[in-house]
Amino acid sequence: MTDSPVAPVQVPGTVLTIRRTGAYHAMTLVAPGIAERFRPGQFVALAVGGERSSMLTRRCFFVREVKPDYGGTVEIVFAVRGTGTQWLAALRPRDILDVAGPLGRPFPLPRHPVRCVLVGEGHSGAALFPLAAVLRQRECAVHFVLGGAESEHVYGTRAARRVGDSTSVVTEDGSLGHRGRPEDLVAAVVEEAAAEVVYACGPTETLRAVSRIAVRYDLPVQVAVEEPMSCGTGVCQACVLPVIDDEGVTHMARSCVEGPVFRGERVRWDDLGTIPFDAYGAPRSVLPGSLS
């Protein structure tokens, strides 16, 4: 949390536009105060269902783009997955909802112009675009690898072709670009581009595989996880992952405040969904009768 550059704001957001983009929805909100605080990799937490909603967890989304217009706009990209996102998808321009953000630890940025590979799968790939914009400003080379189950689920190919030095696309059914998974292309792109840094955003399977490849090439790898979050602000402790700290100790780290961006090689991908026995504070004994 101390890594978060500036305190977030909580403001009423007004829907400016909402449209379909492939299998997803892209929504732009006027939410003053967020744009100037935002750094790539951060997210916003939206309250869904209106003021007296019976849905009490926040829905968190990576930010696709911020603009200074109307006091500050924020664009997000989301998939309809349940009643909360259904409610969001039914919003219309001028509708109002509560927005908190920007939240979370952003992508660390290289100090020098370096060659970067940006890997995105599904709608979370949206988080790569503000990152790409900043990397370009710093004269970094930007090579995209974008994937999804099928063509409708690949986000951002057009934008990637516009801002990237190269764009490789992959779908599981082969309906767009190569057939396969993003990680199948990463090694080749890393070699071709002589990459020095890897960034990735998407489901954990992809992040795990991409982190492995980066480690194999001895490259720094920063991943933004899409672990489901319930509050987005660090109070509920629902979004924890086992992450190794600077001293080599594994902590159950909250994705919303210690993340969502982690160093890929520090996340214990094989132990997700568990409390590793050597984690800080893990039950010390498994003898019968001991309580944890």
Binding site: T57, V235, C236, Q237, A238, V240, I275
Partner: protein, 342 residues
């Protein structure tokens, strides 16, 4: 100006709105949204002698007007809290109520004793909803005798100047009996209620929604249960201060608990939904009191127990028709007060 001051045993708080244990972080999280020094008090997550990694995920599921959680009291342990978090809170002049937990009476007293030298601890809250190893894993909150044993031990270990609050569970047949046992054992106040046991099954995966299978239900879904508990316990023990907890989301919800007999209230799950919930509930409560021509919170603690009309002011029948929390509504309260305060 409405007088919102309230007392919990020997502790005087400038206002009655607290964070509920485990729902307000350790201050830094919410401090990004409002000044935690403005809270009546910040109640910490339950702290144990040793760090705890908590339970595997999924830890939390959304249910109608509630959440079900099984986080397993993840926390850094009392010593890290005292060295890292308490000074941060003290710098902001936050009043801090330390919630404590353990697996045995000894673990609780260990934590309580460590608080002795810590400056800035306003009170201790005992989370009685932990399994007791000496009682086949049944929780302390489930039995008057086990609850009393724990309260007595903590009261003896905690510094005398600090009030000790016992936090009760409503998952019992006779909460009044447990409350009486705690009060007799030396509790200076009661916090109620903790979460209720619950369960949800994911109809997509066809499996329990939480890794822990069962979980703990909180949020507006449990509010009527909590209000009932506060009402019954206040009726039995009118002199024991109560912190009302369970589903509070608005100032009117807070007022409901005060009328039932709570001297203070704590906001839990609503903070997950709205990080500014505590600050807003306080503002709304103040507005609601003003609107009803009530100028001292203490005057209406437990008012629902008295026959209708016992408040010296006549309540304007139109009160409550304006939307609670609408501060403009509070502004419109002046004429009502003049009209009714004869």
């Amino acid at each position: 100006m409405t007088n919102l001051e309230t007392r919990l045993g020997g502790l005087t708080l400038p206002n009655p709105v607290l964070t509920a244990a485990g729902c307000g972080g350790t201050g830094r999280e919410l401090g990004r949204f409002f000044d935690v020094g403005r809270l009546g008090a910040l109640v910490t997550p339950s702290l144990t002698p040793q760090p705890r990694a908590g339970r595997p995920g999924p830890r939390l599921a959304e249910t109608p007007s509630g959440v079900l959680n099984a986080a397993g009291l993840q926390g850094p342990g009392i010593e890290t809290f005292l060295s890292r978090d308490l000074p941060w809170l003290a710098e902001r002049d936050a009043r801090v109520i330390v919630s404590i937990a353990g697996g045995s009476v000894r673990e609780y007293t260990e934590v309580a004793r460590l608080l002795g030298d810590a400056p800035g601890v306003a009170a201790v809250e005992i989370n009685l909803s932990c399994p007791d190893v000496e009682n086949r894993g049944s929780t302390f909150a489930a039995h008057p005798s086990a609850a009393a044993r724990l309260v007595r031990a903590v009261r003896a270990s905690a510094p005398r100047r600090i009030p000790v609050l016992a936090k009760l569970s409503a998952d019992v047949t006779d909460i009044v009996g447990v409350a009486m046992a705690c009060a007799d054992a030396g509790a200076d106040g009661l916090s109620m209620i903790n979460t209720l046991h619950g369960m949800a099954i994911d109809t997509t995966t066809l499996r329990p929604a939480l890794a822990g299978v069962t979980g703990e239900l909180s949020g507006p879904a449990i509010r009527p249960v909590a209000v009932r508990c506060v009402y019954q316990v206040h009726a039995a023990l009118p002199e024991v201060p109560i912190v009302g907890i369970g589903g509070i989301r608005t100032g009117l919800d807070a007022l409901e608990f005060v009328l039932a007999g709570a001297s203070a209230v704590a906001v839990g799950t609503a903070t997950l939904h709205d990080p500014s919930a505590c600050a807003r509930v306080l503002r709304e409560l103040e507005g609601a009191l003003k609107e009803r021509g009530i100028d001292r919170l203490a005057d209406v603690v437990g008012l629902a127990h008295k026959p209708a009309g016992s408040l010296h002011r006549r309540i304007d029948p139109n009160v409550g028709l304006t939307v609670a929390g609408d501060t403009a509504g509070a502004g419109g309260a002046e004429p009502i007060e003049q009209e009714t305060s004869q």
